[in-house]
């Protein structure tokens, strides 16, 4: 019992020339195939997924606004600098505490905050979190970003994957 009776679909489509004689199951499979095809064509043009506030596009070739805290290490800052270099952007530093930075992120006033944020951060309701970029014993450190900026998140996570801490 195959969930995808491909041969059946093609046979019916050929024989009945896409008329009402096709079973409703085959019709729905074809509908799904059409949806998948449309999705692939739509998404191949332009960057996908997109940001809701255009964070990535604003940062590219522009300014990357980075928030730091008292617990930001030197290697954290280097990471941010390298990322900005990849975006061909200059860095604007904002140094405060996690609460202030989370507020700024939620208002889309800064692009990312690095320094002491972990996966179970109490601020995860108002900010987005990346995958861990550094492990320190049991703690997994992540970068906080504005919520809904999925293009920026993808770019940053891909950077994290390839980045090796000096």
């Amino acid at each position: 019992m195959l969930p995808f009776p491909v041969a059946q679909i093609f046979r019916e489509a050929w024989v009945y020339h896409l008329t009402e004689q096709m079973t409703s199951v085959s019709k729905t499979y074809l509908l799904y195939a059409a949806i998948c095809f449309t999705i692939t064509t739509l998404c191949s043009c332009g960057h996908y997924p997109k940001d809701t506030q255009g964070t990535l596009d604003n940062a590219k070739n522009g300014t990357l606004r980075v928030g730091t805290t008292a617990t930001t290490t030197a290697s954290d800052s280097t990471l941010a600098v390298r990322f900005a270099q990849q975006l061909n952007a200059s860095v604007d530093w904002v140094h405060k505490d996690q609460q202030y930075l989370s507020g700024q992120l939620s208002e889309y006033k800064i692009d990312m905050a690095i320094g002491g944020f972990t996966e179970d951060s109490p601020f995860k309701k108002i900010v987005g979190l990346t995958k861990p970029y550094r492990k320190d014993g049991k703690k997994k450190y992540v970068i906080a970003i504005p919520k809904g900026e999925n293009a920026f998140l993808a770019k940053l996570e891909q950077f994290i994957d390839t980045y090796e801490a000096p």
């Binding site: 019992m1 969930p3 995808f4 409703s24 199951v25 729905t28 499979y29 799904y32 949806i35 999705i39 998404c43 996908y48 997924p49 997109k50 940001d51 809701t52 987005g128 979190l129 990346t130 995958k131 970003i145 919520k147 809904g148 900026e149 999925n150 998140l153 993808a154 996570e157 891909q158 994957d161």
Partner: protein, 319 residues
């Protein structure tokens, strides 16, 4: 109560020979359904992350196991004979869990509606990252869409296969299960559109699609709860698909009034699982051959259909 005080009018349910293989097929399909839904629940739970629409679809899928489980569990009760504690038999064993499941569905639908509308009003924006799949960084949204496709396509096929056995067996649970599975593609399609919307930057697409899903769940839950209530208050037997009065009701009346010794008759019937309980009130021309007449009326009705299990004939002088 002492045994000699109780009469068991109905027998345990025995299907006619031509329907037995169909029942076995239905059991096999329902077992596959449960295994499949478990796989769906696990896969969707792993890929769910912060999508409201997926959460809605997941909850609906979890509850979709209830009719299948009911069918299999109640099946084992069906083989039991009526006894002194349960002189009317176990035919209604199906209905109980089904009713609970129907109400649970309605409650879940309302919850999802509340959850999705409040997240929409709060302006919550789903943040969906990526994961490495075979060395390639993949957006989790694609994985979610794949999980949703797995939750929909095999379900449709299973539902399609179960619908005919359900109709022939006149089994309400199997029928409801099959028809909701067939329509499963709508929920998955809505959730997929929601995720695609997120990808395009429309953060509200997810909550809106979750809202639509919740409305369809509420509608389903309401229909089923209403059906369960009708069942509880002994509605006359109905056809599965249309809900219209079952033709057997009229047939019984015609058969009885066609009998030589019957002057007039009134019939009242109700369903218990797939079995019909019948009570016939007859005015006879004369009561000379009372017992023979009643016996022949009874066997006449019984021979109409395999579902005519419990029959009571009451001679009266007026209605």
């Amino acid at each position: 109560m002492k045994h000699h005080e109780v009469y068991h009018n109905s027998r345990r349910h025995t299907l006619p020979d031509d329907l037995r293989p169909l029942y076995k097929k239905a059991v096999k399909l329902e077992r596959w359904t449960i295994a499949y839904i478990i796989s769906v629940v696990i896969i969707m739970y792993i890929t769910m992350s912060s999508s409201q629409a997926m959460k809605a679809a997941w909850l609906e899928d979890v509850l979709s196991m209830v009719p299948a489980i009911c069918f299999l569990v109640a099946g084992s009760y069906h083989d039991k004979d009526p006894n002194d504690r349960f002189p009317f038999g176990y035919h209604r064993a199906y209905s109980i869990a089904y009713q609970l499941g129907a109400f649970a569905l309605l409650a879940i639908g309302v919850y999802i509606f509340y959850d999705s509308v409040s997240s929409l009003l709060k302006g919550e924006r789903p943040t969906i990252g990526g994961i490495k799949v075979m060395g390639f960084y993949t957006w989790k949204g694609w994985l979610m869409i794949a999980a949703l496709l797995w939750s929909a396509l095999p379900a449709m096929l299973l539902g399609y296969k179960k619908i005919n056995p359900a109709k022939k067996l006149h089994n309400k649970i199997l029928f409801t299960d099959a028809s909701t599975q067939k329509a499963d593609w709508q929920t998955a399609a809505a959730a997929i559109l929601g995720i695609i919307g997120i990808g395009f930057g429309w953060w509200w697409a997810d909550s809106v699609s979750a809202c639509f899903i919740s409305l369809s769940v509420i509608y389903d839950g309401w229909k089923r709860t209403y059906g369960a209530v009708q069942d509880l208050i002994d509605e006359v037997p109905t056809l599965l698909e249309t809900g219209g009065v079952h033709p057997l009701v009229k047939q019984v009346h015609e058969t009885v009034t066609a009998h030589d010794s019957v002057k007039d008759a009134r019939v009242r019937m109700r369903e218990a699982g797939e079995i019909f309980f019948t009570e016939v009130f007859v005015i006879l021309h004369n009561e000379d051959d009372l017992h023979t007449d009643i016996q022949s009326i009874k066997s006449g009705i019984r021979s109409l259909d395999w579902k005519m299990n419990d029959i009571v004939i009451v001679p009266v002088t007026q209605f």
